[in-house]
């Protein structure tokens, strides 16, 4: 392989990983916007999405049906959690809320362990075929799926928040819940929707990479942490910011692993996060 092909290969893996980080970051941001809460259980939806779809496909359910069923299951789960566990905790401190979502993630991880055991599972690729050769680098077809799914999801989210009444209502709730409720917006229902969407997108991230990853019940932790980073670099509440930060994070990671050091790539990524937090606490892309 030539130098160029190496660089291209790192680009592919960076974009792949970056897309996943972006999706998880977006799922976190959606929940954060309406609940002012960072959900530490988001990594578990990643795992549930991946493993539910793997199980359904292995049971002979057609891929497209399995795909939508897995998303819907994750959405229902997310909505249930919001309704039963988060809603009663309205007047507690940030710390207590964080710990509540940690408790939820423990319980979900325990549930995943019971359902799927300790072994890893891998999903067959969405479509069969040889990798495409570009400049001497191999582009697996699943990468096209991942990038495509990410692009479609982001477009849908943009459309939803900008053009539909429900999306505008959700933005209003994020902006000013009290004012929104005075305008006749059902804030509780909007929050519920946001959680369902957040969980669905988290699950989608897991499903999209499931063919390239050995997923097991603990697989959600690292993607979630990386999602946090993308979200913080993007400036907690910004969807566009977190998408760019997610992609950037994937690329930085891929190139540092490839060109500098695989040992210290995480050190660099986390140092970057600390630097952004300390010097630009409103996110890398904020104007102020």
């Amino acid at each position: 392989m030539s130098d160029i092909s190496h660089l291209v290969q790192f680009l592919f893996s960076g974009i792949t990983v970056g897309s996943v980080y972006a999706l998880i970051a977006v799922s976190l941001v959606i929940v954060y916007k309406v609940s002012q809460l960072i959900c530490f259980a988001q990594g578990e939806f990643f795992v549930f999405g991946a493993l539910t779809m793997t199980t359904l496909v292995s049971k002979g359910v057609p891929v497209p049906l399995a795909f939508f069923l897995s998303i819907i299951i994750a959405m229902v789960l997310g909505a249930l959690i919001q309704q039963v566990l988060i809603r009663p905790m309205k007047n507690t401190s940030v710390g207590a809320l964080i710990v509540m979502t940690i408790a939820i993630s423990l319980a979900l991880r325990g549930l995943a362990l019971l359902i799927w055991g300790r072994e890893s599972h891998v999903l067959p690729p969405f479509s069969r075929g040889e990798p495409i050769q570009i400049l001497g680098a191999a582009l697996q077809l699943q990468i096209l799926w991942i990038v495509g799914i990410t692009a479609v999801v982001l477009l849908l989210i943009w459309f939803f928040f900008e053009k539909t009444p429900a999306g505008i209502a959700m933005r209003a709730c994020a902006e000013n819940p009290y004012g929104a409720s005075l305008m006749g917006i059902n804030t509780q229902r909007t929050t519920l929707f946001a959680w369902a969407w957040g969980s669905g997108i988290g699950a989608l991230a897991g499903m999209a990479v499931a063919p390239m990853l050995f997923t097991q019940y603990t697989s959600g932790i690292m993607p979630m942490v990386k999602g946090f980073i993308a979200m913080s670099i993007g400036g907690l509440g910004s969807i566009v910011g977190s998408v760019i930060a997610g992609l950037l994070l994937g690329l930085v990671e891929s190139y540092t692993i490839g060109l500098i050091s695989s040992k210290f790539s995480d050190t660099i990524v986390f140092a970057l996060l600390m630097a952004v937090l300390v010097f630009r606490p409103n996110g890398l892309f904020s104007r102020s």
Binding site: G95, V99, M100, A107, T267
Partner: protein, 317 residues
């Protein structure tokens, strides 16, 4: 009766002291109690920072790691005496906390949570990366036992008494701190930073000091851990450990010193009960925690004080 209410902790102290004599615990069980003690030290330190000063940390295990690795490396590779190595660890942790404290603690809530989480990961990835010094991902071996005044701690019983003596000292010193003017300044920062500042409290300085104090406790816990185990690996000090500490704080009742201690004890002894459920263990732990958070927002210590007030009713008031 009021005396009982006041001095209930003496009964606790006596129970800790006589337990090994009466209970004759197996090495496994005394091991659990030693771990519990080490985590109590960590949790009490974190409570000073989170419960009293109101500063979230999702990276407290970083200082646990610094203490453990300083002790481990200096005694196993450079022939330091364990107590000297522990001292170096404490100084090192405090310096690190001093240097990072000011910029990091200027952040609030989630930003602070993320920055501390990142700090934890940086420390762990550096430990994994500098293999030659730390043993890398596979861990650091052959850490000698702890010695005090030339006396080596050789068995579980020795460690039990030593660790729990440190626990008692840590709790006593933490109580002294929160009742001092310094502690009251911390509480003031927690309730309203701006108001505290307008009363002349130098918030940045006090927050950094609370952070340093918590780091020192964690470093001591790390040294004890390294010598007791004889082997340490980066997995013991990751974000999951920091998250576990948060859980202990809220489970026990944050901002009460005794609460987080109780939470640490409970969470470390819980496997003793739930291990028989095997694969259900994780799920049950999660559910117990959810139940406590939803129904007992003041934690286990809240339940304990409520019970105590019921059993020992207020007299002569």
């Amino acid at each position: 009766m009021n005396t009982l209410k006041r001095y209930w902790w003496l009964i606790l102290l006596a129970a800790i002291a006589v337990y090994p004599v009466i209970g004759k615990p197996s090495p496994y069980r005394s091991g659990l109690l030693i771990f519990a003690g080490i985590y109590i030290i960590l949790a009490v330190g974190l409570d000073l920072l989170m419960g009293y000063t109101g500063q979230i940390s999702v990276g407290h295990a970083a200082f646990f790691a610094v203490g453990a690795y300083t002790s481990g490396i200096l005694t196993a590779k450079y022939g330091f005496s364990p107590s000297a190595a522990m001292g170096v660890g404490v100084v090192f942790s405090a310096t690190l906390a001093f240097l990072t404290g000011r910029p990091v603690l200027a952040l609030k809530e989630y930003y602070l949570a993320m920055a501390t989480l990142a700090f934890n990961e940086i420390v762990v990835t550096l430990i994994i990366g500098f293999e030659g010094l730390t043993g890398g991902a596979s861990g650091l071996r052959d850490i000698p036992p702890f010695t005090i005044f030339g006396f080596s701690l050789l068995n579980h019983l020795h460690y039990y008494y030593f660790v729990w003596t440190v626990v008692v000292l840590v709790i006593a010193s933490a109580l002294a701190v929160v009742r001092s003017p310094f502690g009251r300044a911390l509480i003031a920062i927690h309730s309203d930073e701006q108001a505290a500042r307008s009363f002349g409290v130098n918030c940045a300085k006090y927050k950094t000091r609370a952070y340093m104090l918590a780091a020192v406790y964690a470093s001591i816990a790390g040294s004890l851990f390294a010598h007791y185990m004889g082997f340490i690996a980066p997995d013991d000090f990751g974000i999951l450990t920091s998250i576990n500490l948060l859980v202990m704080l809220f489970l026990g009742g944050i901002g009460t010193i005794f609460g987080p201690a109780l939470g640490a004890l409970f969470l470390k002894l819980l496997p003793e009960i739930t291990y028989q459920f095997q694969d259900y263990e994780l799920l049950i732990n999660g559910i117990i925690l959810i139940v406590v958070l939803v129904f007992f927002p003041r934690g286990l210590f809240g339940i304990f004080t409520a019970l105590r007030n019921k059993i020992v009713p207020r007299m002569g008031k």
